[in-house]
Symmetry: C2
Subunit: 333 residues, 2 copies
């Protein structure tokens, strides 16, 4: 049973999920970085290797076949159907690991990357996220839902088949609290949403913009922690990702396809983490916080020191990154 | 010239140091992960390839030979002799990259790891840190000095020859501010230093202790973010690492040697970041904060998702990690 433990200094919660520790042989297979489609639990024909589907988008022209499948994670970081109990453990505090952990299998095709899907398909992936968040929200005790995608070994992915993960948790992660607090402080000082202000400022200078359509803007943030870090921001103020309309999801899909394509063209062996930053599911809409997507490429040669220290050194300025992405050139050539 | 940029949401400072971006060919060499001692700028005979030495510990029995050498970093993240100026950049804020960035070459031997040095040698490495911090402290504008060591490719090291880095910076990193604030909150609630309290609690249960001597305790922290994360805490309350006496440095060296040896025995292909957490250099001693060392092993198969999200899932409980380290067994066997 996973346990959620609170760090007594920072107040941050850490999920200790020993059941997730795979056996060493599996690690060695993963070291090779690729598995055969025939062995892949996410490929068509192997559906019995995953827990039953929670949500299925069928293929249009192939009766019985699926296009997108959401299932429970087989090695969950959190487990549902448990009431959330906080308890003392000596001077420390812990919670039982009550929560939900799902996997969205984005395509039946083992090697099809998100940027190679058509925009309509990507739109449906985002609509599955919206739908699963709205389902998780109904479960007792769920306070925050995090949607993320790890792609490539340097980003911590252990499976090749394109997939994303959704975790519903009984507390709001400290970094989310800090982000919302930071945005609130900005609002109190300037009476403007910091993300709306960023979008306005970037439009003025143009030098960090890497994509824009009717509803979204993509930019290399001013204080990028990672080389080629890219944010996708809705142009209309909006707090909760899960309120995204099907029409907006279409514009989102189109900019995500464009940006992942640009990153793929400019960076060799692209690995990235994509995280949706959004409000806690039960909090009301506010003027100071604005949902957005952060894509953090993990260049294989970049130092990992920043991990866990909060201290970042970035060797590629966001202006240079934007210039490279917009030129369609390979980085470093 | 490096630039320090402030994230408008979190208030965190990021160093954008484009000069540090090495050329692609060098990256590819580094990809191979090992360079020949003859090409290594840190090996004896190649001293002219580094900036001049700032501090040298000579070898006892070999006149003219060095044992430890501190030099300026050839690719500095921050550059000295510049006054620190904060300025607006549209809606953002930046500082020029005024500061100091040094490298401590820990041994003349290309392949000798810290745990293989004798304890007296390690003690001298720590004394060099103390001495360099006390020197940096005298420079105008330096508010915080961070000492860290990246070992192994998974931890972001780009050079094989054992070395550590010292960065003197014109601001206190946000994570340090948060750590000291968290410790102060704990003190206000319980009238005890949280780190002293952790040491007492761990002594009571014993299950997370991995080493102890007269002056230091080593433990797997209760809410470990990383598998086999290990902290080394002085048993006497102390805020500033740079006040460590030569006698204490001896005890510190001995426990560091023991712990790195245990990690090496239990983990294959050990990569780690070692960071000294200490008070800002000009802040007075306080009752609520306690310097310590955090060692974060980077197991090659652990997800990198936590990087930059603050959300941690740890697949090895600290109790299991302590048991493995104390048994001297290989993890996973």
């Amino acid at each position: 049973m996973p346990e959620i433990r609170k760090d007594p200094v920072f107040g941050r919660w850490v999920i200790v999920a020993s059941d997730r520790s795979l056996r060493p042989n599996e690690f060695r297979n993963l070291e090779r970085g690729i598995q055969e489609p025939s062995d892949c639990a996410f490929c068509p024909g192997n559906e019995s290797q995953t827990p039953p589907a929670l949500h299925v988008i069928p293929q249009e022209n192939k009766p019985g076949a699926w296009k997108i499948r959401a299932v429970q994670n087989k090695y969950p970081a959190l487990i549902s159907n448990e009431p959330t109990l906080e308890s003392a453990d000596g001077i420390y505090h812990k919670m039982n690991g009550a929560g939900l952990h799902e996997v969205v299998i984005e395509t039946p095709s083992h090697f099809q990357q998100m940027e190679d899907m058509d925009a309509r398909h990507i739109k449906e992936v985002f609509e599955v996220y919206v739908s699963r968040i709205n389902e998780m929200k109904k479960e007792a005790g769920i306070k925050y839902v995090m949607v993320f995608k790890n792609h490539g070994r340097n980003a911590g992915a252990t499976l090749v088949h394109p997939h994303s993960q959704i975790i519903g948790m009984p507390m709001v992660p400290i970094r989310v609290v800090q982000e919302i607090d930071g945005a609130e402080n900005y609002f109190m000082e300037r009476n403007k949403c910091v993300f709306c202000d960023i979008a306005d400022e970037e439009r003025k200078t143009g030098k960090r913009i890497v994509g824009e359509n009717r509803e979204f803007m993509a930019l290399e943030p001013y204080a990028s922690r990672f080389s080629f870090e890219t944010w996708i921001i809705p142009k209309q103020h909006s707090c909760h990702f899960e309120t995204t309309s099907p029409e907006s999801a279409g514009y989102l899909a189109s900019i995500v396809k464009e940006i992942l394509g640009k990153l793929r063209r400019s960076l060799e062996d692209l690995s990235y983490n994509l995280v949706i930053h959004t409000m806690p599911v039960h909090d009301p809409a506010v003027k100071h916080y604005h949902w957005h997507i952060e894509i953090m490429p993990k260049l294989s040669f970049v130092a990992g020191f920043e991990w866990g220290t909060g201290f970042y050194i970035n060797a590629v300025s966001p202006e240079d990154a934007a210039h490279t992405l917009n030129s369609g050139k390979k980085y470093g050539n």
